[in-house]
């Protein structure tokens, strides 16, 4: 009985000092708007499109039908719109693009005030 009480007091003190140790450690907080996290080249953020042939494979592998491709009369891509309200950033469009023209950048700040702004034309028209 006395031994049990003694042991529990010891355990409580042990726990308290294990917590107290953290008082003297460096905080691990990352203050976000000032400090941006490190992003690897594989990060899947906003899409970047360059030199698309308009084959439409990305449209077929997209799980959430977020891609709208508009072509002109000569069957060239006129508009390449990604609906960011639907996109789940799975990266399928990038992985299965045969010409490797789709890339995903490290831009992850996607908030918009209107839903229609989320429909983004990402087609790079060239110079």
């Amino acid at each position: 009985m006395v031994k049990k009480i003694f042991l529990s007091i010891k355990a409580i003190l042990k726990g308290h000092f294990a917590v107290l140790k953290h008082l003297f450690r460096q905080p691990v907080t990352m203050e976000y708007p000032e400090v941006h996290p490190f992003l690897s080249p594989y990060f899947r953020g906003r899409h970047v499109l360059e030199g698309c042939r308009g084959c439409g494979l990305c449209k077929r592998v997209c799980p959430s039908d977020a891609i709208i491709i508009e072509k002109n009369d000569n069957h060239y891509v006129n508009k390449y719109v990604i609906d960011y309200s639907k996109c789940i950033f799975c990266g399928n469009c990038m992985f299965y693009c045969p010409t490797h023209s789709m890339k995903m950048s490290g831009n992850y700040e996607l908030a918009k005030t209107r839903k229609s702004d989320l429909l983004t034309d990402i087609y790079f028209k060239g110079v």
Binding site: I12, G15, H16, V19, L20, H22, L23, R25, Q26, P27, V28, T29, E31
Partner: protein, 353 residues
Amino acid sequence: MNYLLCTLFEIKWLPDIWAVILVSVIGFGVVISLLILTVLFLVLAERKLLGFFTQRKGPNRVGLWGVLQTTADAIKLLCKENIELLSSDKFIFTIAPIMAFASVILLWCLIPYNSEFHLINSSVGVLLYFAIASLPMIFHFLAGYSSNNKYSLIGSYRSLGLTCSYSIVLMLSVMSVILVSGTMDLDKIVLFQSKTWMIFSNVLGFLIFFIATLAKLNRCPFDLSEAESEIVCGYHTEYSGMRFAMFFLGEYAELFVMSMLVVILFFGGYLPPFGMYLANAFMGNCEFCSYLIYFEQTIWLFIKTLIIVFVIIWIRATLPRLTQVSTLNMFWKYIIPISIFNLIMIIMMRALW
């Protein structure tokens, strides 16, 4: 206080009764402003400390190092809408937070901040303190009962059950203090400790009192009446805006005042820890010093209190919550017998010496 009163009495055109009222109002104002300032500081300190304990930075956006965070929070709370259920008991629902806060303010008036400033100086100060200190709990119960919410109801009867366990222990351990010092006057209890602190003659009593204090304050590990992972928020689930702020601030004010009482009963209150005032040590016995000493006494009291508060926050950072059953078990099966044993030991010591 007395000094101020005497100077006011000497003014010819001021009737004596007005002088007394004026002094009380001034004293009350000082206490209130002290309360608000410490509570704002305390909330910030707790959040900062919990942050540091968990390797975070705590609030650091509003003001330098986040010092204005709690002020901003308080202002936000005051501006918010008071939401009220249609089915709640309006009168009690409104009056409960006000009364709970008011009784905590009353507790602040009972504390001797230094050898002069003691707003309500009663010869049964300890008794008065505990009589008033049991009030907030009743209003917590009423708040939970009147808000017509099942979680609130559970929270409020949990806090009632908790009261049954801690208040006896609290009184038993205070009794040992009274027996050692031979007085119920808080001022005299402090002065009694000018040679040695009470804790050295009554260690067991201190530990018991401290545990009961945690239970009284609804602090971890006894925060079961507002256990947010079980019953959302306990008795103040339905409160918002100003009324919630009253409960919230009242809780922290109570935390501080209870810690002050612990200091007064066991750690020599406003007396300096090494028998000598720093003001005297550095400046000799001048007249200016005798005024400075009053401030120093208050500062000593606050420093000691903050250490106690730190320990309470430290406990909160570490321990999980006890259940209702194990709390009652612990108090009735272990702590009450130990405190009675302690009381008997103290009585025997008194008889032998």
